[in-house]
């Protein structure tokens, strides 16, 4: 666990769809300026946990604390205020297909940006962010005119539009070639340094996990609870749970705990 102050804290979270339990006893905190990885096999509830954290799905029980405020117990206005501090990159980038990349990046500024900000200023900032992710020449293209990797980077630029305190990235490297994936990892680390945001990443791309993770949690689909805590590198060296070891070493899982 990072020794810096916690930016977001999850306490006693129980995740379930109707009566079907997904995970329980999920407890962790994420320090400011750190990259926290949510790990686990397919179907263990990583993306569901992210949905609980970004306000898309209420948990069955437990708290998600931003500062001292429990998101799910807060008034709607408070929830809106917290959400304005988020930047989210969805698994498929979730770019608005009728808008150009620049318009996509400008959208959060138009909806939640400072009052009185002129369109020209928004466009300037959008171009700056697209340049940051290496997409300046594609600013006026539509999402269907670019590749999957470019979409991910454009989604990241949109997530950064309002200088978020909390950056949530759902499978940022999934489906990317190794070079694009490496570039994206470097970009995430660079952004963490520059903005000091708490970055939460859902991923099972091993090279990425090891490259960017400062801390993390490992969810298990069989026991339906977290089975390990710590940075991916640290877990590789010291965690003795057979499934975690199999996962991080990319080996065949032991029968008793695998999916």
């Amino acid at each position: 666990m990072n020794s810096q102050a916690a930016a977001v804290e999850v306490k006693g979270l129980r995740m379930a769809y109707d009566k079907k339990l997904i995970q329980e006893d999920v407890d962790f905190s994420v320090a400011k300026g750190s990259v926290f990885i949510i790990m686990g096999g397919s179907g263990c509830g990583k993306s569901t946990l992210l949905k609980h954290m970004i306000g898309l799905l209420a948990p069955a029980a437990g708290q998600v604390l931003y500062g001292d405020t429990d998101y799910w117990a807060a008034e709607i206005a408070e929830q809106d205020a917290i959400r304005r501090r988020f930047g989210v990159l969805f698994q498929g980038a979730a770019l608005f297909s009728t808008m150009t990349l620049a318009e996509n990046v400008m959208l959060p500024m138009r909806l939640n940006g400072p009052r009185g900000q002129r369109r020209g200023e928004q466009r300037e900032r959008a171009e700056h962010l697209l340049e940051l992710v290496g997409l300046a020449p594609a600013a006026d293209l539509l999402p269907n005119e670019i590749s999957g990797g470019m979409k991910k980077r454009a989604g990241l630029a949109r997530a950064l539009a309002l200088q978020p305190e909390y950056l949530f990235l759902d499978e940022p490297s999934a489906g990317l070639d190794p070079i694009s994936s490496r570039r994206l990892d470097e970009l995430i680390l660079d952004l963490r340094e520059r903005t000091g945001a708490a970055v939460l990443v859902v991923s099972h791309e091993l090279p990425s996990l090891f490259a960017i993770g400062d801390d993390g949690i490992f969810l298990d689909a069989v026991s339906k609870r977290p089975i390990a805590r710590g940075a991916p590198k640290q877990l590789l060296e010291s965690c003795d749970h057979p499934f975690v070891q199999a996962f991080l070493r990319r080996e065949a899982p032991p029968e008793a705990t695998s999916e």
């Binding site: 949905k51 306000g55 989210v88 297909s97 959208l107």
Partner: protein, 272 residues
Amino acid sequence: MSPNRRERIRALAALGRDALRRFSTLHEVATLLGEVILAFARLLRGKARYDAADTWAVVQASGAGALGVVTLVSLLIGAILAFVGAVQLLKFGAGQFVADLVSISTVREMAAVITAVVLSGRTGAAFAARIATMQGNEEIDALKTLGVSPVEFLVLPRVLALTLMMPLLYAYSCAVGLIGGWAVSVGMLDLSSTLYWTRSADALEGTHFLLGGSKSVCFGFLVAFAGCFHGLRAGRNAAAVGEATTSAVVSGIVGVIVIDAVFALCAYALDV
């Protein structure tokens, strides 16, 4: 437990499940309706957040974009009414009353119903497909994380656009339908042009337009609402877009016929 008894219990359980499912759908409809009303109130207070460019595109697609198909269908409906009417009326030597039949049935019933059915298949389906695709691409989730209500951003502009465009298309459909009837009456039934238009003008009353116009407003709202509703509740798989589109068209058309029947009953009761 005997097999017969088990069978009866199973049938009862299936009936109960179906009733609960329908009740749950009704609850979802009521919730969305409430959200649309609240979003409209925010729009009136100038607080609604929506994309003006997208709204304008929807207005164009629902209005001007539908003119071609509305023209063709309305023209043919007017012509068909004239044909069917003429075959019966000529038997009684009352061929000139074709104009009355075409004008009253077009203005009072057919223009509004046919326009709504066409737009249900065209625009309602497009709304459902667009919103369901956005659901699958996580675009709706992205809107929510930006603190924007999808109802305000996507549903309200579409519902308003179609509710406002439908009466205009209805008026246009009336004109084209009357022209269709005129073409058949003059070209094939040897009715004079002057007689056709004079009889039409005499037959039509303000209440006919009022009734047809009121229906078109309701139909516009219903078709757009059905499209958005099925789009929003779509699943996130590839089949979901097709399912949402089909459901939107079916519920749009069935809804239009049901509302038309209610209007007919009310008009009868009020002697309009």
